[in-house]
């Protein structure tokens, strides 16, 4: 395959950045998108240029490291797929592909396609945990949890914290991420003890980091590689109001 690339290049957080054109002549349709980027980088290194910086780790679609806006879509055009699991067969021979970083005030660009997502870590650290001592692993049936509830909690827990929701949202809102983290703990008995404090702290940190508010467009859920549902946001809204009433 012949692929024309327009890749975002930015030397550092203060640099203005611009798109840079590259052409790759011999791309296999079986390559993953990141492998294609590796080929581009090898070419750049051989030519004596600076390779394109991008985040990646597991390349199995579970770590949430890869973060590229491909042709305007976070993680590219394929539904429920991370960039590392996207293959070049999803594109046409001779196609021009735009590759850009997540763009949000709370995700400043470190270099090229790599952004600083430590704001997500700080939100998680603000309350996304269970502090009650649960001791050793109890008997599996000691605490009865309905199947539907545990399924819902697990579905929320599949959020890999990649930030595609923020990248897709016109307001750069992190509500889908935060609500998934709130939900997966709140739905289970061990997490319910701290539900009010957790929601208040995580929402306060989310606002502090400069993420926007949710205007219910649904772009986040559509872009999410793990298909986290909008219902999580409704649940978090409900919890937040409840926590405010309780604490006042």
């Amino acid at each position: 395959m012949k692929i024309h690339l327009k890749v975002w290049r930015q030397k550092g957080p203060e640099d203005k950045g611009c798109m840079e054109d590259h052409t790759l002549d011999d791309v296999s349709s079986e390559m993953s998108f990141l492998e294609m980027m590796d080929v581009l980088n090898q070419k750049l290194i051989k030519e004596g240029h600076d390779p394109v910086t991008f985040d990646h780790d597991c390349r199995e679609g579970i770590c949430g490291s890869c973060s590229m806006v491909i042709n305007g879509d976070p993680h590219g055009p394929q539904k429920a797929t991370t960039t590392c699991q996207l293959h070049m067969r999803a594109f046409k021979d001779g196609e021009t592909i735009y590759v850009e970083p997540w763009k949000a005030k709370a995700f400043p660009v470190i270099k090229d396609l790599m952004v600083d997502r430590s704001s997500f870590d700080r939100i998680q650290a603000a309350g996304g945990y269970v502090s009650v001592s649960t001791g050793n692993a109890p008997d599996a049936n000691a605490i009865a949890i309905p199947k539907l509830t545990s399924d819902e909690a697990f579905l929320s827990a599949t959020c890999i914290g990649c930030g595609a929701c923020v990248a897709a949202c016109k307001n750069a809102s992190a509500m889908l991420f935060v609500s998934a983290k709130v939900s997966h703990l709140d739905l289970l008995p061990q997490g319910q003890e701290e539900t009010h404090l957790r929601t208040q702290r995580m929402v306060a940190q989310m606002d502090e980091e400069g993420f926007g508010a949710c205007t219910n467009t649904g772009s986040c859920s559509a872009a999410c590689p793990k298909e986290i549902k909008l219902e999580n946001i409704a649940r978090m809204n409900r919890r937040y109001t409840g926590s405010q009433i309780k604490s006042s």
């Binding site: 850009e100 005030k105 809102s173 993420f211 926007g212 219902e231 409704a234 978090m236 937040y240």
Partner: protein
């Protein structure tokens, strides 16, 4: 309370609740104005009954407060959201349709046009210095029917009015259902139903309003 109002969730909920109050008002306003299809007397008497009731001042003050709360908080939140996106937009402009509806993506723009429309609407009808009066059973009252007929016989006004009402349809179709999501009252199964109800509510309100100038312009004869 201030902390709640300043939070992204709290401010959105207050905007939504105020918007819901305004949505109920526009429905009542539309339903009352449908008296245009009954008779000039019914229309004028309805207007007079509303404005001559001393409670109207409290109702108007409440409405203005809700309206200002909705507008000011919305502008503040839109500005905050705009700042959150960062200074740079994506270079690639998506040609395909996104999942997000046009109405949901342009709420602030629709809101600003509707704001200008409401100001002009109040100047045209409520604060008009027309001097049109009529008497029914010895009671003198404003001849709002005559004013409305005159205004709705101007083609430019009818086109502008219809356009603004179509924007209101978009605004309500997203807003009415969105408030229930913001308040956390929707679930996986109820969300699509709530969305449909919001859409139908908006349609009913706007068709009701639009039917009035169209009726006057195309079919009314004194």
């Amino acid at each position: 309370m201030i902390k709640f109002l300043k939070s992204s969730i709290g401010s959105k909920q207050v905007i939504g609740l105020a918007g819901l109050g305004l949505a109920v008002f526009v429905f009542a306003h539309m339903a009352g104005n449908m008296l245009i299809f009954v008779s000039p007397e019914a229309y004028n008497k309805y207007g007079h009954a509303l404005t001559s009731n001393p409670l109207i001042y409290f109702a108007e003050a409440g409405l203005v407060a809700i309206f200002l709360g909705h507008v000011i908080l919305s502008l503040w939140l839109s500005w905050k959201n705009w700042k959150s996106r960062g200074s740079q937009a994506y270079t690639y402009k998506k040609p395909k349709k996104t999942k997000a509806s046009l109405a949901s993506r342009t709420m602030w723009a629709q809101g600003l046009v509707i704001l200008v429309f409401i100001i002009l609407h109040l100047l045209t009808f409520k604060f008009a210095n027309d001097g049109y009066y009529v008497e029914y059973g010895g009671e003198k009252m404003r001849d709002l029917h005559r004013l409305m007929i005159e205004v709705f016989q101007q083609p430019l006004y009818v086109v502008g009015y219809t356009f603004c009402l179509l924007l209101l349809w978009g605004h309500l179709s997203h807003g009415v259902s969105s408030v229930f999501q913001s308040l956390g009252m929707t679930g996986e199964r109820s969300a699509p139903a709530v969305k449909t109800i919001g859409w139908i509510y908006a349609l009913v309100v706007c068709l009701g309003f639009i039917s009035q100038p169209l009726y006057v312009y195309f079919f009314y004869s004194a």
